[in-house]
């Protein structure tokens, strides 16, 4: 799970304060592992340093000083590239892929196309493992089987997610 890209994705929706990003990250992606404020502000200042976001002027009010962050064009391009690129088809990719799907829906990007790209990458890996079984010994076969079963489980999850995109979109765009 890549925290900087996920925060950058959340930032693409609208300029946001760090605490808003933390709140939304924890709600959609944290699932029992909330981000610390240190992580959020550390990440935001690195994103600003690298030209992917800009920190607005300090806003004085009650409580601690606040800054609103705005994504830059470079930041948007980075999010776009990340969303469109399939994750290397290793088992257990669920959390990163889930983050991509949710962000794609929030940002009105083609989630179906991203899921298809991931399906293609998974199937390609399954071809390789299946071919390995043709010529392999029993150890190769069992190891390939392990990979195949997990990739297949991921694909089932992708199918179910694809079937529920409309419902998910409603939930994340509220």
């Amino acid at each position: 799970m890549t925290v900087p890209l996920t925060l950058l994705g959340l930032l693409e929706r609208e300029p946001s304060h760090g605490y808003e990003l933390k709140r939304d990250y924890d709600m959609f992606f944290g699932r029992g592992k909330p981000l610390s404020y240190g992580q959020v502000y550390g990440t935001l200042s690195r994103l600003a340093r690298d030209g992917k976001a800009i920190a607005g002027p300090a806003e004085h009010g009650e409580g601690p000083e606040r800054r609103r962050y705005v994504i830059t064009e470079q930041g948007v391009a980075e999010v776009e590239k990340w969303l469109a690129e399939p994750i290397p088809p290793e088992p257990h990719l669920q959390s990163e892929l889930f983050a991509k799907v949710v962000l794609a829906l929030m940002l009105d990007r083609p989630a179906t196309r991203y899921l298809d790209a991931q399906r293609g990458a998974h199937l390609q890996r399954m071809h390789e493992l299946t071919a390995l079984k043709e010529d392999g010994n029993v150890i190769d076969i069992l190891l390939a089987d392990y990979g195949l079963h997990h990739l297949e489980a991921d694909l089932l999850w992708i199918d179910h997610t694809a079937a529920r995109l409309d419902t998910l979109a409603e939930a994340v765009r509220q």
């Binding site: 179906t112 298809d116 399906r119 293609g120 998974h122 199937l123 390609q124 399954m126 071809h127 493992l129 299946t130 043709e134 195949l148 990739l151 297949e152 694909l155 089932l156 199918d159 694809a162 079937a163």
Partner: protein, 238 residues
Amino acid sequence: MSADSGLAVAAPPGTIIEARDLVKSFGQTPALRGATIAANRGEILAVMGPSGSGKSTLLHCLAGILTPDQGEVWFSGQRLDTMREDPRSDLRRDRFGFVFQFGQLVPELTAEENVALPLLLSGTRRGPALAEARPWFGRLGLDGLERRRTGELSGGQAQRVALARSLVTRPEVLFADEPTGSLDSMSGELVMRLLRAAVREQGTTVILVTHQARTAAYADREVMVRDGQVSSLTGARP
């Protein structure tokens, strides 16, 4: 423009069967909405997609079982969707093979008679038909089961008999609709390994409809049917 030159212009080299912009509805329910697909000679093409996506309808249109409302189906330079029923049915019998999720063997016949059935139905005499059927038992790991009734076969064995029956006429295109759908994963894998070896040997093209990724992984290429349209998943073209 003749049928042959029409195909030669539009289809990529090596295409044996293709559908262009198929539209098909059942009453008010659309099943295909502009589906385009092409398979190369000797290729195993997996057609994936959720239930109700139109993948079986697409297979039935390609096989000349259903006629699309719009669009064209071409097989080896011949237009299939506008062909009269008699020649179309001859073509299906002589040049296509079919295997389904449940083997649909004839329970009154032995395993070898089931395999020989397509030959018997197209006029081959019993002796030569059975002689043609028998080598398939060795090829598909079914030695010794030739005289069994279908009720005495396991699900995996029955499906391999059905596969032998679909290949005994050496079809140019094999249409396989969820051929491993009713099998456990080990039996399904065996069926797919044997299917692939057999069609490679014969140069048969396979249109493999499946919702199982492990089955599709035996194909050369996959396409996805969604809402009645086809998109590529692996490889270059639908």
